[in-house]
Symmetry: C2
Subunit: 711 residues, 2 copies
Amino acid sequence: MILSALLTSVGINLLLCILFFTLYSILRKQPSNIDVYAPRLVAEGKAHSSAFSLERLLPSPGWVRRAWQLSEDELLSAAGLDGVVFMRIFTFSLKIFSFMGLVGILILLPINYVGKQLNAFDISDLPNKSLDAFSISNLEDGSKRLWVHFVALYLATGVVCYFLYHEYRYISLKRLDLFYSSKPQPHQFTILVRSIPKSSEGTSSDSVESFFAEYYPSIYLSHTMVCRTSKLQGLITDAKKLYKKLTDLKSDAHAQHKSRRSGFLGLWGQKVTLVDHYGKKLEDLEENVRMEQSDVSLAREELPEAFVSFKTRYGASTALHIKQSDNPAEWVTEIAPEPSDVYWPFFYATFLPRWISKLIVIVATIILTLLFLIPVAFVQGLANASQLVKWLPFLKGILTIAFVSQVITGYLPSLILQWFLSIVPPIMKIFSSMQGYISNSEIEKSACTKVLWFTIWNVFFANVLTGSAFSTFQFFLDFKDIPQTLAIAVPGQASFYISYVVTSGWTSVSSELFRMSPLFWSTITSCARGSDNEVDVSSVPYTSVIPRILLFVLLGITYFFLAPLILPFVLAYFCLGYVVYRNQLINVYAPKYDTAGKFWPIVHNSTIFSLVLVQALAVGLFGLKQLPLASTLTFPLIVLTLLFNEYCRKRFLPIFQTYSAESLIKKDRKDSSDPAMTDFLDKLVTAYRDPALMPIHYSQNANDHNTPLLT
Amino acid sequence: MILSALLTSVGINLLLCILFFTLYSILRKQPSNIDVYAPRLVAEGKAHSSAFSLERLLPSPGWVRRAWQLSEDELLSAAGLDGVVFMRIFTFSLKIFSFMGLVGILILLPINYVGKQLNAFDISDLPNKSLDAFSISNLEDGSKRLWVHFVALYLATGVVCYFLYHEYRYISLKRLDLFYSSKPQPHQFTILVRSIPKSSEGTSSDSVESFFAEYYPSIYLSHTMVCRTSKLQGLITDAKKLYKKLTDLKSDAHAQHKSRRSGFLGLWGQKVTLVDHYGKKLEDLEENVRMEQSDVSLAREELPEAFVSFKTRYGASTALHIKQSDNPAEWVTEIAPEPSDVYWPFFYATFLPRWISKLIVIVATIILTLLFLIPVAFVQGLANASQLVKWLPFLKGILTIAFVSQVITGYLPSLILQWFLSIVPPIMKIFSSMQGYISNSEIEKSACTKVLWFTIWNVFFANVLTGSAFSTFQFFLDFKDIPQTLAIAVPGQASFYISYVVTSGWTSVSSELFRMSPLFWSTITSCARGSDNEVDVSSVPYTSVIPRILLFVLLGITYFFLAPLILPFVLAYFCLGYVVYRNQLINVYAPKYDTAGKFWPIVHNSTIFSLVLVQALAVGLFGLKQLPLASTLTFPLIVLTLLFNEYCRKRFLPIFQTYSAESLIKKDRKDSSDPAMTDFLDKLVTAYRDPALMPIHYSQNANDHNTPLLT
């Protein structure tokens, strides 16, 4: 790729971004779009539609200022610690890439450019220069200038590690602060006990009761058994749908008087109004639900798992950490998630199937990650013009037009790739939920890690290695050659990744802001059904967003050393992302649960991986460039980086796993004098009841439309 | 090697064994050797010298019967659970090798022998047959008879896993039984706290006191700071030596009247008797010790580490398992060893140097293991006749005699190898003690693992791979070829390992029984100084013994499949070992501390490794023999074996790490009604005092010779 082509691509994408931003500035002020651009404010009742004015039709940068001025405390109260941590990925990246950008553009880039390897030293014809002239490939073999790169690598590693340490420390302190200032929360007092042994007499519930009453008499509070409620959940979903239909009918004055026959398929029988018909059906369904609920409680479809609550946080923590039974496969304890965070369909009854399914999921994930591109390439191969004509002969006429054919053959494969890529995060989420995690946040975290490695493999390694002789297994098996293979392949892809940052990165941010598909659906549905009162506020889709951001961190760190020209574009990506996501966090997304920063270790590990990757690359590259001393001297850097990581693991990671005795006891003592604790403990007893077992009152609500729902 | 050569070697070694056993039967009955063959009985005062009779000069098998009849309970009380576990390695091996021996000799061996690959089907000339005729190499490529081996492999894996499960289960139950029936022991109530933060005012001791009194007011009992006492220990050792000299002098009526001058080097000054002289010196030394002791206590050479004792076992376990401080690098808790098991010179003050030294040790161990043979081969190369003559010209005359030269060149290199090998366990022990373990048993366990991998690498892999093109790193780096490389190399070494089992294995057992070097030293010293009352009873040197036994398990399992002819010899080894070590456990060794079976997981892991090794070999071998289906079908066996191992890790390993809440609370409740507990808790307060800080009274004892030592 030559410089002018890059500039054209940048120009086009810049214009697109400006267009999106401008459109957003206007559209967000239209009352009809408020569900799309500020669903959170609507749900919180803070949205106010202003009267029509000319200002509404002009783009204004007010939202940028608001997003910018947001303080961290405001962010914390709005988006939880997870939101704060999420935004700190951006500030962290901005910090490291500012340093790298300065070093890269002011020092490394000129040095690369005056190299003679590619015979490019001719300043007159700059626009037609290949981008490779700005990369390290342009330096001749054995050049002493490579030592500048060597020093820059050491410096950059130092700076990144400093900021990593600083962030880890800051976030872990934040996490502790949050804990110290938190109100009593059910999950602090509760643990999940799994693999409860069956006692010969009595139910599992009895054996939980007797076990904890026996061994923890002074601190044991209560327990809630986990039941198998999949059937019940199906019924409740049906009831919900019916209730919605009914309220829609009632709000529509015209439809209220429609009628149908009560017999089979509405073909014969007595005529009844639709409202009565659905009302009757809803009542029947509710009766079913209630019967099933009492069935579940009576017939005891209990699983050998229970949430056990204690009177103190320290008590819960004690029971969590000590092996309960002489048989380590029984009475297995786990941290309980927040009640709203529990993933209810977890049902792996015993120890053995649980970890077998875990192993299967791990294998499936590895296979999906490594072999993903093979079926995709196959499908893409099928999606060319001649194949299409074979399948859908009626397209023949259109496809003979050269332009259409070009667009289809050029665009269809990439569309297919995009579609395949977009289904990966949901698939990984399904995998993670099969792994036996008990909370949505754990599933999300695990899926996030999976998607991260998937992305790094498929967007980085598979892409880079296709150029050189690429065979997945061969690459792994000859692992002594990895640095060299990478050193040959990676610099060649620099121009591809620069345009990748511009096209994929910038576009993803602006489309996040513009919310194309919600806007589309909202327009369609509002045309079809009129306005709908219920607004669905989702939480930030960390599973898909964080891996994408971390990919750009990886690209930035890797190409800082190889082709520093990428850095301004990466910096621009993070600047855009910083503003856009702050805006989205306060307007669009609302957290459903808070992991209190548990995503940070993923970010930390991924950054360390990027560092080690660039160091391994440097080892290979210095070797290729016939500077074996530099190659050897880079080894200690890898060791130091790994030691630093190990230190951070020991020093900070435990803080993200459990709280310390010190903090738990302090909190307990503070609470012991609080009269509100009695109330809290009373509520704690029922906090972990399966929502499917809650009484439902839809038909009552349907009759009395104004009362709020009780779910 | 041909069959007759093997039989000769077996014959010679058998005769040697019989000779050793016979000599032992006679020598053990001589009163002068009682210190050598029953030091434990002497120390316990159970040894009784019988009057002289003719019987004393005849070999008798009575000791074999006694060793054989010993019940497990007797063994438990005599040698602790460690002794029982140690003997169960033998019974376990006997069980699996009996099965393998039956299958191997009755089924596999004939099948191998009728193979035609090596053109060996000629029963007439049996004695001159190469041993390879009995190995799997003799089967022709693609032979259907290999399926018998395939089935045998599956069967053997099943049987080994069954017994492994059974043993793990049995030993973990024994461990729990032992705990339930144990008297209160200090280490059950105590934890070690490391990385105690320095408080601004006061000492570390104060901050321990205030921390635990604050957070564990109801269960905290006391604490003992760990001090730096290396100087003190040196002084005490000197005092001990001096005291021994003095008592020797006093018991020797003649020497008591010797005298020397009191001045410099005894050259001038007043004449004093030697007894007075040493007595004075001892008193001075003791004064020094006392001053140093009070120095240590006053000047507070405290380390930031302390043993903290609690009033209940459950309390100690709670404090052990929960992270104490918000900073995970402070107040790090560990299981406390038995007081007699504490390794006092542990001194790594802080968190960071501790794990850096750990990393260094790991690297050093790997280097020592992988590169051990290179310097050894170099030294062996130097130790040939011509080199010796060059260094020590006076040997020239002797070395020209052909026989002497042959013996030296033939024997010296192997002597050097033996000597190098014998210093490995002590080196590994030093490594392990540098790793920051706090107890002798942990050091021993860790050293045992290190020696095990060292042995397996250097005796098995390095030996096997020297035959084929051997390069350590290449072997590891091309790990997809490992099965094939092994499949080519390992069967070729069958005859070497058969004779290795006979020479090294049988000899090691009989020399263990005969105790050559203690016998030698005892004879020398008793000639020189007359009898010595102090008997040094050592504990079983698990570090060097267990790896050797496990090597034979590895050889047996591996060659069961390849060359079943090895099995009778392995079985003979374990039979001998069974009798000999039972005898040694009751007569020679006395346990100094009991890890309660913590060595078993090492045995388990090593056996699983052997299984996976033979399975990988089978994969390679079936491939070589052009039976790809069998090769593929062996893969599931590897997976199943690893899953089985994983299951055992989850199911049994936690039992070997900590006790459960259930068992701790039960024990605590049982004790709470015991009036002896008050006494015990009083003693507990001082149980973990550094022995170097105990008051010493040697000079007093020296004056009053009959009182026992107070150390």
